[in-house]
Point group: C2
Chain length 217, copies 2
């Protein structure tokens, strides 16, 4: 079943909880396998023949996966909330996503422990500064929208780099700092074992149709 | 030949121009094939058997590519400049990178035309806000460092979202706004056919060893 989301021109496919579990259990391990392939691809130094064989095998898999495809702009919803399987940061079925598993403590506070490998590199051995911004934009958005359950649009985010963030195990936390009318101010950070490496703050806007009692989400 | 980069604890492998061309020509098409696989993976709806076969094939390729691997923290340099083949935004050999091909017009002005597909999605049909921040962090850094040729560390970046950025063909431009002592202020934007969707400004810091005439890069 699909629903037109109106303003965004996007379609939602509504899944039951058990159907959502089935879809995740089927496609998340496939995305995991592609994540390993990503890491291997960035760092490989194998010879020409091995590369040629790898390309041929990958192209065949791509073709097989494209036999049946979700159209662009269709995404899943479960129990009235988005199931962001393809999201670039938290999507279990998106190999680009680390993926972050975001835990919510209530009241807009959330955290995630995650690992960033070679595919997220900027300077040698360090996380690309933009990847830190990507993670923090998402985490502040999770805090401001209370786990994507409320419609909030990002207004502005500021990211302050205290020192280089090493590739490897990291943590991010985010929380709601304060509210002013339709604006929600969120803050957060990324840290390694030695402390905070990057800080961020952001302003998120509640759309007017939420205030007016609409349900456009 | 490898060199110790000192402060970062990273190693550089120095390549001749022809060796750099050979490495890029060999591994960039492999990364392209994995990019197509990424896109197919995010959107596939094939059945259980096809997924199982795809996983097995992918795992075999991953194993073959890991027979010979560049150690973590080793990156290439050509003619004294970084060759960021594995960079998360511009790395031709990193499947996570779109990749952006950044053109420099001189004086710190640069631009890139690029396409973001389903793997970069946040809200349905829209680029993840954090991906826009990732792109802008990189573009402002390219402007501030004049094509990664000068050492500049990101201090702070601010990203302002004017409206949703649609998946598809996009453009980004960045330039140096002004300098104050060791600080370089850069600005930039992302645009679609209808105009600017996201704006950014950033402060980049010249390390003290550059001023002191060192060559720690």
């Amino acid at each position: 079943m699909t629903q037109d989301a109106g303003a965004l021109g996007a379609l939602f496919e509504v899944l039951s909880a058990s159907e959502a579990d089935r879809v995740t259990a089927l496609y998340a391990p496939l995305a995991d396998a592609v994540r390993d392939l990503l890491d291997a691809t960035v760092r490989t130094e194998v010879d020409d023949d091995t590369v040629a064989q790898a390309r041929a095998a990958i192209e065949a898999v791509t073709q097989s996966l494209r036999q049946r495809t979700r159209p662009v702009g269709v995404s899943y919803r479960v129990d009235g909330r988005p199931l962001p399987l393809g999201n670039a940061v938290v999507g279990a079925c998106n190999p680009i996503a680390p993926p972050l598993v975001v835990h919510h403590d209530g009241g807009g506070r959330c955290w995630a422990d995650f690992v960033l490998g070679s595919a997220y590199e900027g300077p040698p051995k360090l996380v690309h500064g933009g990847v830190s911004a990507l993670v923090l934009d998402h985490m502040l958005g999770e805090a401001a929208s209370e786990g994507l359950s409320k419609a909030r649009f990002t207004g502005t985010i500021t990211v302050k780099y205290l020192r280089g963030t090493p590739l490897g195990p990291l943590r991010s936390e985010a929380w709601i700092d304060r509210r002013e009318g339709r604006k929600v101010f969120a803050r957060g950070f990324i840290s390694d074992d030695a402390g905070i490496t990057v800080e961020s703050e952001g302003v998120f806007i509640e759309p007017s149709w939420v205030r007016e009692g609409g349900n456009g989400q």
